[in-house]
């Protein structure tokens, strides 16, 4: 299988008219957006807004009802393996198997993602995420914060072009969360990849994201710079805007 030829200026992720419905229940309603190179895009919204459904579709574990997903110009529905070769993710609801050690988990997933020079890559990631002393510890006995760091190490294994992070710092202490944010910012600025990030921590979103998308009832209601968007909609900060979107999505959409 060939590695996708990367156009560094093209979008990392391009989503067009994406829709997912379960019978009459529409979970994601014709959304379109993109993630550019070196960009961190925040996907925000209340519980049940359709964020995880969107991420599941991008990861190829949920088939869209309609619409298209392209990762580095590779159509996910047509070339799933090729598209996912340059993608990776970390999510609080997808811990790595607790009955394998960190090194074993990273080796298995490194083989799945065909990571070159895997042993060195594993060592580098263990150092980067401060996991060296836990190398031979089973993931199941790690604290939730340590498990999150392992998931992030796995997410970085293949130096993905598209990194999907679903509440990556939810179980981390403030100091570790800051280190993780720094690592992810470095990842986004150093290569040609992009990040799609979901979080309920508006301070974090404002600090990290270049652009945010507000999702409610399966639709994108707002999109813009997290530093200026609240003022544009008459709110003091991102958290107030979030609450307004969550409680009165129709009103916000009308504005």
């Amino acid at each position: 299988m060939s590695i996708p030829v990367i156009n560094p200026n093209g979008p990392v992720l391009a989503i067009s008219q994406l829709c997912k419905s379960y019978g009459d229940n529409v979970a994601v309603d014709h959304i379109s957006f993109h993630v550019g190179p070196n960009e961190i895009v925040g996907l925000l919204g209340p519980n049940g807004a359709g964020k995880t459904t969107t991420i599941s579709m991008i990861l190829g574990v949920l088939t869209p009802s309609s619409g298209s997903i392209s990762i580095r110009d590779v159509d996910l529905s047509q070339q799933r393996s090729r598209a996912l070769t340059c993608t990776n993710f970390a999510a609080v609801y997808a811990p790595l198997p607790g009955n394998l050690t960190i090194a074993e988990n990273l080796r298995v997933f490194g083989m799945i993602y065909a990571v070159p020079d895997l042993s060195k890559r594993i060592e580098d990631l263990l150092k980067q995420f401060d996991l060296v002393r836990f190398r031979d510890t089973k993931c199941g006995v790690l604290s939730s914060g340590e498990q999150t760091r392992v998931c992030l190490a796995k997410a970085m294994l293949n130096r993905p072009q598209l990194l999907l992070l679903d509440e990556p710092t939810a179980s981390l202490d403030p100091a570790t969360a800051r280190d993780i944010r720094t690592s992810i910012r470095e990842f986004a600025t150093s290569g040609t990849g992009g990040v799609l990030w979901t979080s309920h921590n508006m301070y974090e979103v404002q600090e990290v994201c270049n652009r945010v998308l507000f999702l409610a009832r399966g639709r994108i209601l707002l999109e813009g710079d997290p530093h200026t968007l609240p003022q544009e909609h008459g709110k003091e900060n991102l958290e107030e805007l979030f609450i307004a979107v969550a409680r009165q999505p129709l009103k916000v959409e009308a504005n």
Binding site: T52, T63, F89, Y93, E104
Partner: protein, 267 residues
């Protein structure tokens, strides 16, 4: 298809098995107990009847061959259950691994574990009860091949059932060999069965193995066409099982079952 991804599933299984007594012991303890139990039964029957019938190759050999099929099936399903038990579906299926690569990894894991079980069974049956597989002659290879292919087919079918119905459905998988055994004539000729059971036997590949094994023990030859039919049916069973898995996987991806597997159902 990338060999590295297939190898990843095998390596994962190796990591889990090494140093885990609860995974290593079942590979050979139960089959060894089975051989010991049936070894003494055959000895007792031989002493009781004194008919000159070769009980050891006919009964003990049948037990060994049937246990081999069971171990092959369980080798596939156990490797799959590791992902079920550790809730690893999302990490695996959101990666570039394809369904054929994943199934390939399960099958190779099964080859490794079932070979170990077969070796132990042969050792116990040969040393303790004088069973010689050489008594089956060159037919041993096609016998084992047909049983191996059938075991793989049953294993893939079992994984598809659990993928579709959820973790609790593993209890549908364990008894599959026991349900099939009366139909394939492990211990008796198919002519013993009523007509409707014989009709089912004819589409089950192991039936041809056990009929062939009894023919050899009785001093008759195996009809090659019959064995070829068993082989053809075993190949068909594998293809059918893979198709079933693909259908279930497509359903799981369409409905979101993979992402919410612990819920067991998405309706």
């Amino acid at each position: 298809m990338r060999l590295g991804r297939i190898a990843a599933i095998v390596v994962r299984q190796y990591y889990l098995v090494r140093g885990s007594a609860s995974r290593i012991l079942p590979m050979f303890v139960w089959v060894a107990i089975d051989i010991v139990l049936w070894g003494f039964i055959t000895k007792y029957l031989a002493a009781l009847t004194g008919s000159g019938f070769h009980f050891v190759p006919a009964l003990l050999g049948a037990v060994l061959l049937w246990d081999f099929l069971t171990r092959v099936m369980q080798g596939v399903t156990m490797a799959f259950f590791e992902d079920v038990w550790s809730r690893n579906f999302l990490n695996v299926f959101a990666s570039p691994i394809s369904v054929p690569e994943y199934l390939g990894g399960l099958v190779i894991s099964s080859i490794c574990t079932s070979s170990l079980g077969l070796g132990i069974m042969l050792l116990v049956a040969t040393l303790a009860f004088g069973l010689s597989f050489f008594s089956y002659g060159v037919m041993l290879a096609p016998f084992l091949l047909i049983l191996f292919l059938t075991g793989i087919a049953l294993g893939i079918t079992g994984t598809a059932i659990v993928l579709r119905l959820g973790p609790a459905a593993e209890w549908f998988v364990w008894p599959i060999p026991a349900v099939l055994s009366p139909f394939v004539g492990v211990f008796y000729p198919l002519s013993t069965l009523p007509y409707w059971m014989r009709a089912i036997s004819h589409i089950l590949p192991p039936s041809y193995v056990f009929e062939g094994m009894r023919a050899i023990v009785a001093g008759r030859g195996v009809i090659p066409v019959t064995l070829a039919l068993g082989f053809g049916l075993a190949i068909a069973a594998i293809l059918l099982a893979c198709w079933f898995f693909f259908v279930v996987f497509r359903y799981a991806v369409r409905t979101g079952l993979i992402a919410r597997y612990s819920a067991e159902t998405v309706s």
